[in-house]
């Protein structure tokens, strides 16, 4: 299985390394339109959502990707990637978005970097807690009926699923815990 990682900016190497640890999975860097033809699913990594969004737009990837995801192509967004997959941003409206998740997401919801943190997170169907790393992380503020919440903190939902699309406010790529990447690989497998 070929799983792409959008490699315009951010923690794409970390995601690729995680994917390559899963048997039968090959992580691929995706930078251009043609790269999208080679993959069975895509991770949009952490980074700066404004930067990645602008690059998606400038290099004609935004609409192409939007159409693919609308047709059921599996995608997983972490932090910046999660923001880009959302339909609406709380009190902001001038950044390019893929607009898939029926949610309103709040950027930097915990504050500046000194409020970034590690949390032992309870995740639906996980046997033991997950050490989640939140860095200038977003939180879901409003949520539509088609969205399933997989984990939440006091401030709101931080891990969600809508069809074949996953979104996490935190950074599984900065851990050694493969459970969340495995969950995404399972979604891809089911679709194939």
């Amino acid at each position: 299985m070929q799983v792409g990682v959008l490699s315009l900016q951010g923690s794409f190497i970390e995601h690729k390394n995680m994917l390559n640890k899963i048997p039968g999975v090959n992580g691929l860097e995706v930078k251009k339109k043609d790269d999208l033809k080679k993959i069975d699913g895509l991770i949009i990594p952490g980074g700066e959502s404004t930067t990645i969004g602008k690059l998606l737009e400038r290099f004609d990837l935004l609409n192409l990707l939007k159409n693919m995801i609308s047709d059921g192509f599996p995608v997983f967004g972490t932090c910046a990637g999660f923001i880009l997959l959302s339909k609406r941003i709380y009190q902001e409206n001038d950044q390019p978005l893929l607009g898939i998740f029926d949610i309103t997401i709040k950027r930097n919801a915990f504050g500046t970097q000194i409020n970034s943190m590690e949390i032992d997170l309870k995740i639906k169907n996980f046997e033991f807690p997950y050490k989640a790393i939140f860095i200038r992380a977003p939180v879901v503020k409003e949520i539509g009926d088609s969205v399933e919440v997989l984990a939440e903190v006091d401030e709101g939902p931080v891990f969600i699923k809508q069809g074949n699309v996953l979104g996490a406010s935190f950074h599984p790529e900065l851990t050694d815990d493969l459970r969340i990447h495995q969950m995404f690989v399972d979604i891809i497998n089911k679709r194939r």
């Binding site: 490699s7 315009l8 900016q9 951010g10 923690s11 794409f12 190497i13 970390e14 930078k31 952490g46 980074g47 700066e48 404004t50 930067t51 602008k54 690059l55 400038r58 932090c79 910046a80 902001e92 950027r107 930097n108 504050g111 500046t112 970097q113 000194i114 409020n115 970034s116 943190m117 590690e118 949390i119 032992d120 790393i133 860095i135 200038r136 950074h171 900065l174």
Partner: protein, 294 residues
């Protein structure tokens, strides 16, 4: 339970900046231009390095009012500089909740022997380095990110190239050494053995390593990326050129598509005049910023 300011959290923010451009800005208008161009962060300053170089005098941490205005103007991370060793300037910036602190040779050093004990802070620090020993000494003091020193405010990339090549060369050398040779190497480059061992096992620095100091064109930025930088800082290069919007955008694009000469040729077109630049050979040793710090 929530844990703040851990090594993972501090180094993690630097990891999120990879493949991006951090731009020096001196006011809100410039900060917005930088964000619109696609900068991953801005460095809030009172004067860009080229002006610090020209005007002379003691260069210090920026006025908190300048930093606060810039923080309000953008949603991307805001960094700010403190003088080498000036831990009170750092305390002030932490209290103001800047996202990253640069303990920088561009400002006039406050301590000629000691750098800041960066472990004491929840805010991550980036520090300059000219070689592997210097990079590891800074990491040993708690730096969460390294950048080459280059020669700031010159618009001349030659020193950044020298420093990046040196660091990469020394890493390759360590990777090829046997473990018993590392003890002597620790002595040679004046760095802690444990960190040298970590570099050998990882094949790279344990923190993100950006290029800085003299980058003025998209080609300069791509050059540094091809030499192994994780991203770039652009100081005077943007707002001392005659079309900052266009140049800023082109440098952002160049850092993403650094290995594609065809795209680079497109984005390098028609950017107007770059900053004028200084030949390093015309600078006396006292005029070089890179020799500050140890």
């Amino acid at each position: 339970m929530r844990e703040y300011g851990t090594v993972k959290i501090k180094r993690g923010l630097a990891q999120m900046l990879k493949g991006g451009v951090i731009m020096d800005v001196t006011n809100e208008e410039q900060a917005v231009i930088a964000e619109q161009a696609g900068a991953v962060a801005v460095m809030a300053l009172e004067r860009v390095p080229a002006d610090i170089r020209k005007e002379g005098g003691v260069a210090r941490m920026a006025d908190p009012v300048v930093i606060e205005k810039i923080k309000k103007a953008v949603t991307i991370p805001v960094m700010a500089k403190v003088r080498i060793g000036h831990f009170v300037e750092a305390q002030i910036l932490e209290a103001m909740e800047v996202d990253f602190i640069d303990e920088s040779e561009v400002l006039t050093p406050a301590d000629e022997e000691h750098h800041i004990d960066k472990w004491k802070f929840k805010v991550p620090f980036v520090c300059g380095a000219r070689d592997l020993g210097e990079a590891l000494r800074r990491i040993n003091e708690g730096a969460s990110m390294i950048r080459t020193k280059g020669e700031a405010g010159t618009g001349n990339v030659v020193e950044a190239v020298r420093h990046m090549r040196k660091i990469m060369d020394e890493i390759r050398k360590i990777v090829s050494m046997s473990e018993d040779e590392l003890y002597n190497e620790a002595k040679n480059i004046n760095a802690p053995f444990e960190l040298i061992l970590e570099v050998r096992n990882l094949g790279k620095l344990p923190v993100v390593n950006f290029a800085a100091g003299g980058i003025a064109t998209p080609a300069d930025a791509a050059l540094m990326m091809q030499l192994g930088a994780d991203g770039v800082f652009v100081g005077s290069g943007i707002f001392k050129s005659n079309n900052p919007e266009k140049r800023a955008r082109a440098i952002v694009d160049a850092v993403t598509y650094f290995d594609d000469p065809k795209i680079l040729s497109e984005i390098s077109k028609d950017l107007g005049e770059p900053m004028q630049g200084i030949d390093i050979k015309t600078l006396s040793d006292e005029e070089k910023l890179q020799t500050r710090g140890n």
